[in-house]
């Protein structure tokens, strides 16, 4: 299973801080497509993707027990 985290506005849209996808391997692109299909209002393409707390590319592979996070444009400081 792959854990997906949502923050800030994305958390409010999804209605949860995290969800689980029952797969053992996906690309980053697969995860994005899956989320778009589940949450049509979620601005997936405006978010960066982090896997295990590092930013990744669309073609990177996600494995079971990895943690994916959608990172909307940051506004700290």
């Amino acid at each position: 299973m792959i854990k997906v985290l949502f923050f800030a506005e994305l958390e409010e849209i999804v209605g949860a801080r995290e969800l689980v996808i029952e797969k053992s391997e996906m690309t980053v692109k697969d995860v994005k497509e899956y989320l778009k299909s589940q949450f049509p209002n979620l601005p997936v393409d405006r978010a960066m993707i982090a896997v295990n707390e590092e930013y990744v590319e669309e073609t990177d592979i996600i494995k079971a027990n990895d943690t994916v996070a959608l990172i909307p444009p940051v506004s700290g400081g």
Partner: protein, 157 residues
């Protein structure tokens, strides 16, 4: 208080504590940047802010910024604390402290740190006004990341 050089915290930040982490016998200069909650932004009056963070990753990214600074500015020491949760006007959101042997480097490295925080550290601010609220950072607006990563500063403030 925390010994961590790179800290996300729900508690008030002590400037002195952050500065103490970078004091060093061969530092002649310590530059500190303190971000406080401003009441007026573009004519709108902020009542309070809420900050959210991906805490574990944010601390890692702050540490990465520290490493980048130590590569660029030799003999520097860096500590950064960022507060999350509810913040009122004039509350401290972030304290950056950079010590270096000579003063010019301390200014440059400190400036670098705040710009990088606004690029890569997963922290989000929600403005609360008298008549509404909004997550900042252009989240549903104009700035996609064409490369999938933030490579330049997208936010000027």
């Amino acid at each position: 208080m925390s010994e961590k050089l790179f800290l996300i915290t729900e508690g008030e930040i002590s400037i002195q504590e952050v500065v103490d982490k970078v004091v060093h016998r061969n530092a002649g200069a310590i530059n500190t940047f303190i971000g406080t909650v401003r009441e007026l932004t573009k004519g709108k009056k902020t009542v309070y802010l809420k900050y959210d963070a991906y805490t574990s990753m944010a601390q890692k990214k702050l540490a990465q910024i520290g490493n980048e600074i130590q590569e660029r500015w030799p003999n520097s020491l860096v500590a950064i604390s960022h507060r999350i949760g509810h913040l009122d006007v004039t509350d401290i959101a972030v304290v950056i402290a950079v010590s270096t042997p000579h003063r010019a480097d301390s200014y440059e490295a400190s400036r670098y740190a705040i710009e990088r925080i606004k690029e890569i550290v997963p922290i989000w601010k929600k403005e609360h006004w008298a008549d509404g609220e909004k997550w900042m950072g252009d989240q549903l607006e104009k700035t996609p990341y064409p490369t999938g990563k933030p490579e330049e500063e997208h936010l000027n403030d």
